[in-house]
Structure formats: C-alpha cells, structure tokens
C-alpha cells in the first residue's frame, strides 16, 4: 500500500450531529488524504452513516467544521457539495427502481473535472461488465450485488475526486464483496480518495490504508489499518459483536 501524503482532501473537526434531541455524533474529527482509502469502522448504530450523511449535507451538523479541498462545506446543500467533486454512495443503495441502468447513470452525470478521472458509460461498463449487458434493465429488477455496482457507477458518473462509500458490503454475498474490494482498489489506483464506512473487517483490511473506529458517536481509535489488524484488543473492544 502506498503511503498517502499532503494536506487532507476531506477533514472533519469536532462535528456534533443531532436527530431531534438525540445526539448521534460527538466531536467527530477525521481526515482523508489524497488517493487514500480510509475505513470508518463501528458497530450498527455507532454513527457511521450519520458521519457520512453529515459530510454530504443530508443531515445538518449542529457544531464543528467540515472542509473539502480546503473549503468549508458544512451548511451547503447536498447538490452543492456533490458538485465540488464529492461523490456519495448511500448505504441502502437507493437505485432509482423505475429507471433503466443507463438512465440511473444519466442522473449521476456531471461535467468533467480537471483533477479527477473522467467516466463515460463505456469506461464504466468496462469496470462493471455485468452492467453493460443490462443497460436497458430497470433498476428495480436487479439483484442486490448488481444494484451495488450500479450505485457506485452512478456516483462515478459525477466524475468525483473523493467518494463516500457507505457500507457497500451490506447484504452482499462474499464473492460480490471481493468484487467490491477490487473496484475500490481500482478507483484508488486512478487517484480517487475514499472514505469507506464498514462493519466488514475483512473488506476494510483488504483495501484501507488507515482506519478510524467510531462508537456511540465518538471516534475511539485512529491508526493504520495494518496496526488495527494486529491489535486484537481494540478489535474485541469496539468491533466484535
């Protein structure tokens, strides 16, 4: 694994997020550097998805700062954040079921960006050969694995420089998880930065450079993925079910 360097592309500092009166995130700080895959690990309900949603603007943090490529983005609307080159792959996939594969991709399309690889239908179909064969199929008629590939492809159509991947392995067969891992490494090789929220330690170990562990809305551990893989004690404390 290459060691990423330079200033962080995505940085959270002291983020608090509430749902109504319930505090979900407390002083969450983390950073993702260029071409780095960072895992955000934690059990169900620990605050992984809320962290991701706070970044992309689907929920509003009450406190703290979020910056992307040096610019503050907290308080911006989702579409504005997305247009800065921050792609979001939601946890429950949220494929447009009444649209075809090609149309799903079209919804994600954005103008090309200078500092990001440019994606076309053909390039995406090369990355996800399954999708090429079914470009006229309705999103609602695809299997879970195919939908997961489609969601990633849809986000790539926005030519992002950084991707937020929310639990991509959820509900997928192990062989498909391997495919997701391969895709993540492919994207990293193309220079994309990725924040990966996961419960699946196996997938995270395969692809991540660094890892954070979140529990009850607080970051409890920060370190390289290799260290975490060695550290039985931490894993038992925060990740074992």
């Amino acid at each position: 694994m290459t060691e990423a360097t330079g200033a962080p592309v995505l940085e959270l500092t002291g983020v608090d997020t509430f749902y109504g009166r319930a505090q979900i995130l407390s002083e969450v700080s983390l950073e993702v550097r260029r071409s780095e895959v960072v895992a955000l690990l934690g059990r169900n309900g620990a605050g992984k998805s809320t962290t991701i949603k706070s970044i992309i603007g689907l929920v509003r943090p009450a406190k703290g700062e979020i910056s992307f490529e040096g610019k503050p983005i907290q308080g911006l609307e989702s579409f504005q954040i997305s247009r800065l080159g921050l792609g979001y792959v939601p946890e429950d996939r949220r494929v447009f079921t009444s649209l075809t594969v090609a149309e799903n991709l079209e919804v994600g399309r954005q103008p090309r960006r200078e500092n990001a690889p440019e994606w076309t239908h053909d390039k995406l179909f090369a990355l996800f050969p399954n999708l090429a064969a079914m470009s006229d199929r309705l999103g609602g008629l695809m299997s879970g694995g195919e939908q997961q590939m489609l969601t990633i492809a849809r986000t790539l159509m926005g030519n992002p420089t950084t991707i937020l991947l929310d639990e991509p392995s959820e509900g997928l067969a192990p062989v498909i998880v391997e495919q997701v891992a391969k895709t993540i490494l492919d994207l990293k090789a193309q220079g994309l930065s990725i924040l990966l929220s996961e419960q699946n330690l196996h997938l995270s170990t395969l692809v991540s450079d660094r890892a954070y562990i979140i529990e009850k809305g607080r970051i409890r551990y920060e370190g390289s993925m290799a260290e975490l893989a060695e550290n039985e004690e931490i894993r038992a404390a925060y990740l074992m079910v």
């Binding site: 579409f79 949220r94 009444s98 149309e103």
Partner: protein, 646 residues
C-alpha cells in the same frame, strides 16, 4: 349508429381539457408531493388569458393557435411565480400543509380574475379555419372537435418524449422516486421543481385555452375542473400520464353518453366510477401502490403529551369566558350584542366539525376530503325526521349524530382500506354521491319509479333538492338565543373533551401506532382496518352532532352543506390550526369562521382571505397551534422546551 359514432367522437373531444389539466396535476404531485388545489385556477386563467389574446391576435388560424400557446406559457410562468414566492418556502412543512397555501392562491386568483375580466361569462370566439362541421354518416361534427381529439395524443406523445428522451425528464422521474438521492448526486432540485411547476401549470393553461371555442370562460371553471381532474388523476393512477390519458378518454365518453341517460349528474357518474375503480384497484388503473410511492417528507409527528398547566389554565379560562358571555349580554347588551352570540354559536359548530375531522386526520392519519357528507348528512337525517315523522326536537336532534355515524360506518368500510391521496379521493367521491342524493332528490325519484308520486305525477319532494328543508326549529325551551347558545357551547365542549379522552385512551394509542407504522402495528396483532373504521364512524358521529347544532341554529338546511367547498372549509380549518396539536382544529376553526365573517362584507373578500391564509402559512408553517412551539410560545410556557417548532 351514426349517432353513436358522433357521440363517441364528441366524448373524445371533451376529454382533451380534462387530460391536459389532469396530466399537469399528476406531474406536479409526482415530483413535489404537493396536491395543488390551485390547478383548476390555472385552467381558468388559461381560458381568460387565451380569450383576451384570441380577441387581440386570433383572427387568423396561425394567430389563434399562437394565442393559445402564449396563454399556456403565461399560465406556466404564473405557476413558476407561485413556486418561487410561495411553495419553495414551505416544502419542508408537514405533509398536506402546502394544500392550504394553494387554497389561498385559488381565492386570490378568483378575485383577480373577477377584477380584470368582470363577472359575466365570456363566450369564446370560434377558431378560424375550423368553424365548419364535418359530416360522419350524415351527422354533423364540429371541425374543432376533431382538432381537440388530435390534441390529447399529440401532447401525450410530447410528454412521453420529454420524460423518456431528455435529461431533464430523466431527472424528474428520478426525483419522483427519491428527491434526496437526486440532490446528493449534484442536481439542484430547486430548478427541477420550478420546471415541473412550469410544465404542469402550462398544461392546465393549455387545457383552459383550447376549450374556449367550446366553453368560453367563466368564474366557476376552477372548481368544476378541479374535481374532474382529481378524479381523472386518481382513476388513471397518481403519477401515471398514460393512466390520466385513458381515464380522461373514459370519462369524456362517459360524460357524453351520461348526459343522454342521466342529465346533470355526469359528475356524480364520474365519482361513482371512481369509487368502483378504487374499491377494486386501490391505486388506480395504471398507478403503482402507494407504499412504493411513499417518501418520508417533513419531520415525524411528535408524540401527544398531556397539556401543560399553563395551557390547561388557558383552556379553562376560555370555557369560563364562553359561559359568561350570555350573562354579560343580558346585563350589558351594548357590550356583547346578539350578533356576538350568533357568531360564537357558529364558531363552536365549526370547532366541533373541525375537531371531529382532526380526530381521524391527525392521530389517525386519514385525510378526508369529504367530511361534509357526515355534517350535512347528519343534519338532513334530523331534518327529515322532523318533516316527515313530526319527531320532537329532543329526538330529532340526536338523529344527526346517529345518522352521521351510520353514514360514516357505511362509507368508511370502503375508504379505510385505502391510504393517502387515494383515501382522500374516495371520501370525496362518497361525499359527492351523498350531495347528489340530496341535491337531485333521489328518494323522490326512486319513489316515483315505484308509482309513488304527487297528484300531478311529479316526484314527491323528499329532500327538497335545491330548495332544501325549511322551518326546522328547536323546542320552545331551547329556542331562545341564550338557551341555544348554552346548548351549543355545552355540547361542543363536552364533545371535544370526550374526543380528547378517546385519543389519550388505548384506542387513541392504537390509532397513532397505525398511523406511524402500519406494518409494525399489524405485526403486534392490531386489526388496523377495524380500528380505522371505528375511528371513522366516531368522527362521523361527532361531525353529525355539529351538523345538528348547525341545522337547529339556522332553522333550515340546503344541499350546500354537503358540498365539496364545505368539506374543504373543514380541511382548511384543521390544516391552518395545525394537524399536530389537538388544539389546532379549535384555533383553525375559530380563526377561519371569524375571518370569513369579518371579510364577507367587503367586495373583494376572497382576495383578502386568500392573502391572509397565505401569510399565516408563511409565518406559522406548523399551523396556528404551532405558535406554542415558537420562541415566544415557549417563553410563555405554552410548550415544553423540546417541542420547538422546526
């Protein structure tokens, strides 16, 4: 045969306006989730603007069609103005709240139209080049009808291409399913919504403009088309343009043949067909089940909590004032006049009506668009008992709540199986059927078919049709103003208290559980349909009670008490007051009744009322009762700190 074909073609041509308006309504609802009541007004504006433009430039064929198109674009722009100035600010308000805002727009447009074009019906000029008739098997058919027949498929094709082949159309279809995700993919929904409002409104305007040569323009067009358009949309399936197309054709044909069989009841025929369709296909002919469509919008409902001491004290004080008013009236008639007592009686009647509607709407999550059926239906039950059985007041009075409950029991059995907009539409359909039953004096007609008629062979007057039933007063002891005042206040306060008790009892919990999570409620063994049915009947009983109080305060009853407008009044009161609070309907009904009374002496009262409603919507997006949750309300200790308005 020739007659049949010509009738069929006439039916197809009359489908054009219905299809255009309905498709616009459907598109707007699909994306914004707003039930746009002002849609009928856009149709009306299309006709008026089209009329003026045709007068100016429509002497040639090209000029005429240009005028029609410009009118459509102009109405589209009016829709855009409404979206930017009004809807944009309230997308996040609780569901259906936007409905009141569009209702305010209806009132404003009515008076603006009256002011600009005057009260006379305008007779539309004929379309140049299409003034003649073609002969089909020897029967004449106006050439313009052929043009109208061609318009619907052309527009359908255009819409299909727009939605299927353009990026904009793809985005709109995606947003119909998941707005949040579309935004997270970098699409600015704001312009998507504005575009949709433009398209939908322009379609309504086009519908109004193309029918000028056939129907001209008048001030009743807005409500007349609105009911028909809703029916078309629901029968076709919410959000399905093809569905709207087929449903419009069906109803166009039905209308043409219906006129020959049952004159002046074509609208009832439409509602009857809709009721049948919804009973067998609860999501319309080509629609998809509501559960798939449902997208969480707005914040979740807050749990109901016991009232705070300060709120209880205020409620007690209000009751004391109500009880003291007549005494002040007797002692100082110049301070509290007869008029005030009459107004308070009227307010209490509508407070009870609104609270009964809120009973199923708020905690039950069932939005009835046709609650006037139980208000007027109950009142008619009491009135008929007085007229034909000479029942004393003390007995007849209670016939109304019983009648309201029975009617709700009957209609409810069908309705409670549906949810959301489909539920609303079916209740509206039943209310229209009940209205027609009274308005066209169906019992009289039915008796006549059995040979029972008056001495001239005309049907007996049972409900009295348009003339209503008159001279129905309370007994001597209750007829004095002050006595009747105390009856009204006593009964309505008691009824409010009973409803509140029911909602805080396990039955109320069950109802709310079913509203918040039908699946989970069913999974823990609750027979939801039965609970909803029972709640509907209870609501019907209290609505009937309000009807009874209304009847005996006026001494007469007319079919207008069962009208759509009356149902909408009640709906407006509940929404304006705030669905989330049990006090909401009380404030809403009191405010609207009072405002109505205040403005009704003015010449442009609709405009004023409309503007007031819009202002209230913008200022208090949680309804009037939402005031408690504002900063000021919490400082006055009317709400708990956590019940802050969002």
């Amino acid at each position: 045969m020739a007659d049949f074909i010509v009738s069929l073609l006439t039916g197809l041509s009359s489908a054009a306006a219905m299809f255009l308006v309905a498709s616009g309504l459907s598109i707007i609802f699909g994306v914004t989730r707003i039930v746009n009541f002002a849609h009928g007004s856009f149709y009306m504006l299309g006709a008026y603007i089209g009329y003026t433009l045709v007068q100016a430039i429509g002497s040639t064929g090209i000029g005429f069609w240009a005028a029609v198109l410009i009118a459509a674009v102009a109405v589209g722009l009016i829709g855009v103005v409404m979206e930017i100035l009004l809807l944009r600010r309230i997308y996040k308000a609780p569901e259906l709240f936007q409905l009141i805002a569009t209702f305010g727009v209806i009132l404003v447009i009515q008076d603006v139209t009256l002011w600009v074009w005057g009260p006379e019906d305008l007779v539309g000029p004929q379309a140049p080049g299409l003034k003649g008739a073609v002969f089909i098997l020897g029967k004449p058919l106006p050439e313009y009808d052929l043009a109208l027949i061609a318009i619907s498929p052309l527009v359908l094709l255009g819409l299909w291409a727009l939605f299927k082949l353009t990026r904009w159309g793809t985005l709109v279809r995606a947003a119909t399913q998941d707005r949040q995700m579309v935004a997270a993919l970098g699409v600015n929904q704001r312009w998507l919504f504005t575009g949709v409002l433009f398209l939908g409104s322009a379609l309504a305007g086009l519908g109004g403009a193309v029918q000028i040569p056939k129907g001209g323009a008048d001030l009743l067009m807005d409500f007349n088309i609105l009911a028909a358009a809703f029916v078309v949309v629901v029968v076709g399936g919410m959000g399905s343009i093809f569905g709207a197309f087929w449903a419009a054709l069906l109803f166009g044909i039905l209308q043409t043949f219906g006129i020959q069989i049952l004159p002046n009841s074509t609208l009832v025929l439409m509602f009857l067909v809709m009721a049948v369709v919804l009973i067998f296909r609860p999501w319309g002919l080509l629609g998809i089940p509501e559960s798939v469509l449902q997208i969480p919008s707005g914040p979740p409902e807050r749990p109901l909590r016991p009232a705070l001491p300060r709120v209880r004290a205020l409620a007690g004080a209000a009751c004391a004032v109500l009880l003291a008013l007549p005494i002040v009236h007797l002692v100082f008639p110049e301070v509290v006049g007869t008029f005030t007592l009459v107004l308070v009686i009227e307010i209490m009647v509508f407070v009870l009506f609104a609270a009964a509607l809120h009973f199923i709407m708020g905690p039950g999550g069932m939005v009835s668009f046709g609650h006037a059926a139980y208000f007027g239906g109950g009142a008619y039950a009491a009135a008929l008992l007085v007229k034909f059985a000479d029942a004393p007041f003390e007995l007849a009075f209670w016939a109304a709540p019983v009648g309201g409950a029975l009617l709700a029991f009957l209609f409810g059995w069908f309705c409670v199986r549906l949810s959301g907009v489909y539920f609303a539409m079916l209740t509206l359909a039943f209310a229209q059927i009940a209205w027609a039953f009274v308005f066209q004096d169906m019992p009289g007609s039915v008796l006549k078919t059995f040979g029972i008629a008056d001495e001239y062979g005309a049907p007996l007057k049972i409900t009295g049709g348009d003339d209503g039933l008159n001279d129905i007063w309370p007994s001597q002891w209750a007829s004095a103003r002050v006595s009747y005042y105390y009856i009204t206040v006593g009964l309505s306060v008691a009824a409010l208290w009973i409803m509140r008790r029911i909602l805080y009892a396990p039955f109320g919990y069950t109802l709310r559980a079913g509203r918040d999570s039908p699946l989970r409620a069913a999974a823990i063994g609750i027979d939801l349909t039965r609970h909803r049915w029972l709640a509907f009947a209870i609501s019907g009983a209290f609505t009937g009670l309000a009807g009874s109080l209304f009847l005996f305060s006026k001494g007469s009853i007319f079919p207008t008490t069962l009208e759509i407008a009356r149902s909408f009044d009640a709906l407006l009161m509940v929404l304006l007051g705030g669905v989330q609070s049990l006090f909401g309907p009380i404030f809403g009904a009191a405010a609207l009744t009072w405002l109505n009374d205040l403005f009704s002496v003015l010449s442009y009262w609709r405009f004023l009322l409309g503007v007031t409603i819009i202002a209230l919507v913008l200022l208090l997006p949680q309804g009037l009762a939402g005031f408690a949750g504002t900063r000021l309300g919490r400082r006055l200790r009317l709400a708990r700190p956590e019940e802050m308005a969002t």
